[in-house]
Point group: C2
Chain length 290, copies 2
Amino acid sequence: MLSKKHSTKKVIIKKASGETELFNVNKLINSLRRAGANDEIIKTVINDITEWIYSGVTTKMIYNRAFRNMRRLEAVSAARYKLKHAMFELGPTGYPFEQLMGMVFQGLGFSCEVGVIVEGCCLNHEMDVIATKQNEQHFCECKYSVDQGRKIGAQVSLYVKSRVEDIVNKRKSLRKYQNTIFKTWIITNTRFSEDSIEYAKCIGINLLSWDYPSGEGLKELIERQGLYPITVLDSLNKKEKGLLLSKEVVTCKQIIENPKILTEIDLAQSKINKTKKEINNLLRLKQGNK
Amino acid sequence: MLSKKHSTKKVIIKKASGETELFNVNKLINSLRRAGANDEIIKTVINDITEWIYSGVTTKMIYNRAFRNMRRLEAVSAARYKLKHAMFELGPTGYPFEQLMGMVFQGLGFSCEVGVIVEGCCLNHEMDVIATKQNEQHFCECKYSVDQGRKIGAQVSLYVKSRVEDIVNKRKSLRKYQNTIFKTWIITNTRFSEDSIEYAKCIGINLLSWDYPSGEGLKELIERQGLYPITVLDSLNKKEKGLLLSKEVVTCKQIIENPKILTEIDLAQSKINKTKKEINNLLRLKQGNK
């Protein structure tokens, strides 16, 4: 688990008694394990300590730093776990998810329309998100499901292809879009089937799901931009979250930017304070996780 | 309801008593109505009588002809009603419906493959029916539902468009299909939504449902070819029909062409005779209805 380099780095440290000794990484690993840390967290903590450690540092300072770091990583890991589940509480309709995706694109510098009817050559179509930046226009179909096991099949990629094609054919005939490059996305909070990925790659549709593409999935995009949905909060109950969602407040960021929304849903001052504190901790966590 | 011409045609007829009198069409109409015939059937019966009637014919001959005709028309109307419902008993899977559609195309002079996997440029796709005649190849997507209220929405037209396009793009690259004209069909036992019809018309997909296109719908195609599904039969129970369907016997015609299939599902001779008689009546009805 740990590289040889770390375990053999020789550093003289000071004990509480004032005596000195060689730093023994295995002692620290055992302490972290006894405290319940998993291998991944231990690895990250030990990497941090061995990069930082210097001769003359006290045992107390090492252990303080290691355990503080472990707790922070555990909180990040718990928040990520909560984030995944919070996505499933945005339902039952797909609209809050569409709004969240609009915000993700806004965070990437696009201007966005959510849930609009647009004209195609043959039909009018509803597009979940249309994201525009300079001469690029991205059409996004959002597939939201409260069923975690649901896979988005090839049929979705096939109909989205025809639908966007119908819209693009119309727009290409308009002067306004003469130099526009059009792109297609399918975004889901669940997963894609293998053949939907195969078809999308072949035909040039961008796919985005919780953990696809690897390292650039929804979880990373949401975490990087700190776009935590309000359903992640422990300080609000289901009814209060529902009220906020109905007022198109989908993310914690929106609450921080407009805190009086909490008064508007008749929240007691004590609860308002508790919610703000929870959000600030969450966003601080995100800062620390950068 | 009746044209002036019919009611004023003056014909001398003979009564049972030997006396003669002017034929009175209203008396016949009232008799038919009292016997429970509906307006449509009365109209057809009266049209037949007034075209056929001649001086010297007896009242008995007129009434015999009229009532025999009425019963036949009622039976045709009942058979058509039964046919529609028999379609919903082909389920729960869509496979018997696909086989039936294959037979409809065969009746139109095509050679057919049912439920085959074909290669596209991006993916392999399952096609429900591929019907080929000379340099024409028709790809048919069958949407079977046991829910009579189900409408096939635009999404189906959209994904079928991309799917057939993917297959056609592949085939066009092969020498074998160099001069082939490809067509796309969506066929359902229920109905199409307005926008699925609009899109299909715009993009050039052929649609076929129970009563679409008007006068050329499934009911007419099936009746004209006498392709009554076995589920229309009263002489077989659900289990026996299921056994036949599992042996890919979908139509009454198949039973007539290969009657020993009834022995193969262990039917008693009396039941076999009853079934054959019912089928012959049904097909005779079709002959009479031409």
